[in-house]
C-alpha cells in the first residue's frame, strides 16, 4: 500500500518533465521520421500521400563513404578526447582548491568566444599563409605545397579542439568525487602508479567516462559547421549532406531520411550505455545492515 503511494507520487512528480519531453523532443523526432515517408513538393515543402521514394534515394553511391567518414571521425575524436581528458581531469582534481578553480576556468574560457569565431580562427591558423603552416614548414615538418586545410585530418583536429572541454568537465566531476585514498590503498597492496591508475582510478570514475563519451560522440556525429568550414568536399560529414538537402535541394524528406538515420545511429549506442548502467545499478541493491 505504502509502496503504491510512493510510486504514484513519483509519477506525479515526473509528469511535467514527461509532458515537456514528449511535446518538445519525442513528437518532433517522430515527425522527422514521418516526413521521411512523404514525397517532396517542387517548392521545398512536403507533398501529400506516402512514398518510399526517399529510402530509395538514400542508396546514393556517395553516402556510404560519407557515413563511414562520419562514424570514424566521431570515434577517433571521442577516443582522442578521452585520452587527453582523463589525465587532465585527474590532474585538476588533485590540485589545491585555488589552482583547481584557475584550471577549470581555463577549460571553460573558450566557451566565452563564439563557436564560429573559434572555427574561423583555426582556418586562419591552418591557412597556407597561416602561422601553423609557416612554423611547420620552417621546421621542415611539412612540404611547402602540403595543404593543412580541407581534409579529414583538419576536421579531426578542430573537432578534438572543440569537444575536449566537454570531455574534461564530466571526467573532472567524477575525479573530484573520487576517493584518492583508494589509490593509496592500491599502492599499499603492491600496485605501482600506473596499475593504481588503471585498476582503481579508471573504474572509480567510469560514470564520468561514460558521460564524457556520450557528450563527445553524439555531437561529433552531428557535426556540420566544422567540416563545412575546415573540411571541404573531401571531408564532408552526414551533417553537411543534411544541410545541403535542406538549403540547396530544398528537399525536406531527403534531409529527414538522413536525419533519421543519424538519430538511430546516436540512439542505439546511447541505449546500449543506459542498459549497461542500469544493469550495474541492479547489481548493487542496497541491503540492510547486519549486526
Amino acid at each position: 500500500m505504502k509502496k503504491q503511494n510512493a510510486s504514484l507520487s513519483e509519477w506525479l512528480a515526473t509528469l511535467p518533465s514527461l509532458i515537456w519531453l514528449t511535446i518538445l523532443f519525442l513528437i518532433p523526432t517522430l515527425i522527422v521520421f514521418a516526413i521521411t515517408f512523404k514525397p517532396a513538393d517542387p517548392f521545398g515543402g512536403i507533398g501529400s500521400g506516402w512514398t518510399l521514394e526517399t529510402l530509395r534515394k538514400l542508396r546514393n553511391p556517395n553516402y556510404p563513404a560519407i557515413i563511414w567518414r562520419t562514424i570514424w571521425l566521431s570515434i577517433v575524436t571521442t577516443t582522442i578526447c578521452i585520452i587527453l581528458a582523463t589525465p587532465a581531469g585527474y590532474f585538476i582534481a588533485r590540485l589545491k582548491q585555488r589552482w583547481r578553480q584557475i584550471f577549470l576556468l581555463l577549460v571553460i574560457v573558450p566557451f566565452w568566444i563564439s563557436f564560429l569565431v573559434r572555427i574561423f580562427a583555426w582556418k586562419v591558423l591552418l591557412h597556407p599563409e597561416g602561422l601553423v603552416k609557416k612554423v611547420l614548414v620552417s621546421f621542415r615538418l611539412v612540404q611547402g605545397d602540403t595543404s593543412l586545410l580541407y581534409n579529414p585530418e583538419a576536421v579531426l583536429l578542430v573537432m578534438v579542439y572543440t569537444f575536449l572541454p566537454f570531455a574534461i568537465l564530466p571526467i573532472y566531476a567524477a575525479a573530484e568525487k573520487f576517493d584518492f585514498r583508494l589509490v593509496e590503498a592500491a599502492r599499499d597492496l603492491g600496485a605501482h602508479q600506473l596499475q593504481a591508475f588503471f585498476k582503481v582510478f579508471l573504474p572509480g570514475i567510469r560514470r564520468g567516462l561514460l558521460t564524457a563519451i556520450l557528450v563527445v560522440f553524439i555531437p561529433a556525429l552531428g557535426s556540420y559547421v566544422i567540416p563545412d568550414i575546415v573540411g571541404g568536399p573531401n571531408a564532408e560529414m552526414v551533417g553537411n549532406k543534411i544541410a545541403q538537402r535542406v538549403f540547396v535541394d530544398r528537399n525536406l524528406p531527403q534531409a529527414s531520411g538522413l536525419s533519421a538515420f543519424l538519430i538511430l545511429a546516436v540512439l542505439l549506442p546511447m541505449v546500449a550505455v543506459l542498459v549497461l548502467q542500469g544493469r550495474e545499478k541492479k547489481a548493487t541493491p542496497i541491503i540492510g545492515e547486519e549486526a
Binding site: D179, R181, L182, E184, A185, A186, R187, D188, L189, G190, A191, H192, Q195, K199, V200, P203, G204, R206, A283, T284, P285, I286, I287, E289, E290, A291
Partner: protein, 391 residues
C-alpha cells in the same frame, strides 16, 4: 643488535607544522605495538612514513635490517588497514581480498586457495560475491584485514581501524584483531587515540604528544608509572598537585610541601633534589575515603576534606573532595563500602588517604602541562568513568 623495525631520528614537517620531531622508536618482531596519543600528535604521520606515503625530512626507517626510507609504498613489505577501510567499491569481497596477489601476478589456483583461506579466517565465506556497499561496517573492517594479511606483510599497520564502528562492535572487533594477531603472529603497529583499545590489546605502547614520544612501555608501566605529566593525565585520570620538594627523607622517599597540605610523603622514583618544583600525581582509585580518621602508619598521607559532589557511574562511584583549593577525585567501587554501611553523601566531612608509594612526582617542564591542568577534571573523569563502567 638492531630491532626488527626501527625509526631513527625521524622528523616530518608540513609547512610550519612540525608533525614528528626527531622520533626514534624500536619495535620487536611479532609485537602488538600501539601508538597512542591525541589527534594531531603525529602518530598517523609516523604510520604513513612507515607505509611509504610520506617521506621523512630527516631520519631513517629500518625494517628487518633493510633501510626502506626511500622505497615507494608498493615495494615495502608492510600493509595498511585504513581508517576508512578504503575497500575498492567496484570489486566484490573476493576480488578485493585477491587484489594484492593479482598485482603480484601469482598463479590463479594459488590466489583462489589463499582467498578461500582468508575468507575462512574472517568467517565470511558466504559473502564473497557481495560488494563493499552491501555489507556492514564490521564486515568491511574484516575484509580490510584479510586484504592486507593475504600479502603476508612483515608489519601490519592499523590506522584507527575501529574509529568508525559503534562501541559494542568496536569491542568485538578489538578481540577479533587480537585473536588474528595471535594466529598469524606478524607484527602489528596500531595507531589509536583510545587508551582503552591500546591498553587492552597492546604488548607495548608508545604515548605520543605534539610530535614526540613521551613514554614507551608495557600498558601497566604506562599507567602505574607515567614518566611525564602528559602521560599521567592522558592515560586514565589523575589528581595533580603543585608542590616543591622540601626534604629528601631517604633513598626511597621525599617530602613535598603543597599549599594547604601538611607535608606529603612521596615515593622518590625520579632523581629529584631539594627545592625542585614538581607535580604530585595521584590516581583517584588509589585514594581511600572514610568518615573516621584512618589509623595511619607514617607511610600514609591523611588529609581532611569535604565532599562536594558524588557521581554514580554504575560500576564505580566518584567523589569530588574539596581540600583547600584542590578538588580531588576519588573512586570507590560502590557506595556501601564502609563498615557502618552508611554511604558517604554530599557535604559530608571525610578523611582521604593514600600510600606514599601511590603518588608519583613529575617534573614541571612541559608547556603543554598548563593546558592539561586547565582541562576541567569533570570531563576527564567522565570519559574514564564511562570506559571503566563498560569494560
Amino acid at each position: 643488535m638492531a630491532e626488527f623495525l626501527e625509526f631513527e631520528n625521524v622528523s616530518k614537517s608540513f609547512g610550519a607544522i612540525r608533525a614528528v620531531k626527531q622520533v626514534s622508536l624500536s619495535i620487536r618482531r611479532g609485537e602488538f605495538f600501539s601508538l597512542l596519543g591525541p589527534s594531531g600528535c603525529g602518530k598517523t604521520t609516523l604510520l604513513r612514513i612507515l607505509a611509504g606515503f610520506e617521506k621523512p625530512d630527516t631520519g631513517r626507517v629500518i625494517l628487518n635490517g633493510e633501510d626502506i626510507t626511500a622505497l615507494p609504498p608498493n615495494r615495502r613489505k608492510v600493509n595498511t588497514i585504513f581508517q576508512s577501510y578504503a575497500l575498492f567499491p567496484h570489486l566484490n569481497v573476493r576480488d578485493n581480498i585477491a587484489f594484492g596477489l593479482r598485482i603480484a601476478k601469482r598463479p590463479r589456483h594459488e590466489i583462489d586457495q589463499e582467498v578461500d583461506r582468508m575468507l575462512k579466517l574472517i568467517q565470511m565465506e558466504d559473502q564473497a560475491h557481495k560488494r563493499p556497499d552491501q555489507i556492514s561496517g564490521g564486515q568491511k573492517q574484516r575484509i580490510a584485514v584479510a586484504r592486507a594479511l593475504i600479502n603476508k606483510p612483515q608489519v601490519l599497520l592499523l590506522d584507527e581501524p575501529l574509529a568508525a564502528l559503534d562501541l559494542k562492535l568496536r569491542q568485538r572487533m578489538l578481540i577479533e584483531l587480537d585473536l588474528i594477531h595471535d594466529e598469524v603472529g606478524i607484527t602489528f603497529l596500531y595507531v589509536t587515540h583510545d587508551q582503552n583499545e591500546a591498553m587492552s590489546v597492546s604488548d607495548r605502547i608508545a604515548v605520543m604528544n605534539s610530535g614526540i614520544i613521551e613514554q614507551v612501555g608495557i600498558p601497566a608501566e604506562i599507567y602505574e608509572a607515567p614518566r611525564s605529566s602528559f602521560v599521567a593525565a592522558f592515560i586514565g585520570e589523575s589528581n595533580f598537585f603543585e608542590g616543591q620538594v622540601s626534604e629528601i627523607v631517604s633513598n626511597e622517599y621525599s617530602r613535598l610541601s603543597i599549599d594547604g597540605f601538611p607535608n606529603v610523603l612521596c615515593f622518590n622514583d625520579k632523581q629529584m633534589r631539594s627545592s625542585d618544583l614538581v607535580y604530585l600525581s595521584v590516581r583517584p582509585e588509589k585514594i581511600r575515603i572514610s568518615r573516621e580518621k584512618p589509623e595511619s602508619n607514617n607511610r600514609h598521607n591523611v588529609v581532611p576534606g569535604h565532599v562536594e559532589d558524588v557521581i554514580y557511574l554504575g560500576a564505580l562511584t566518584k567523589y569530588w573532595v574539596r581540600v583547600q583549593e584542590y578538588r580531588i577525585a576519588v573512586f570507590q567501587q560502590h557506595s556501601r563500602f564502609l563498615l557502618d554501611e552508611k554511604p558517604i553523601q554530599w557535604h559530608d566531612d571525610v578523611w582521604i588517604s593514600w600510600h606514599a608509594d601511590d603518588g608519583f612526582m613529575l617534573e614541571r617542564y612541559s608547556e603543554s602541562d598548563e593546558k592539561l591542568m586547565g582541562t576541567p577534571p569533570e570531563k576527564v573523569g567522565e570519559q574514564n568513568g564511562e570506559a571503566n563502567g563498560t569494560a
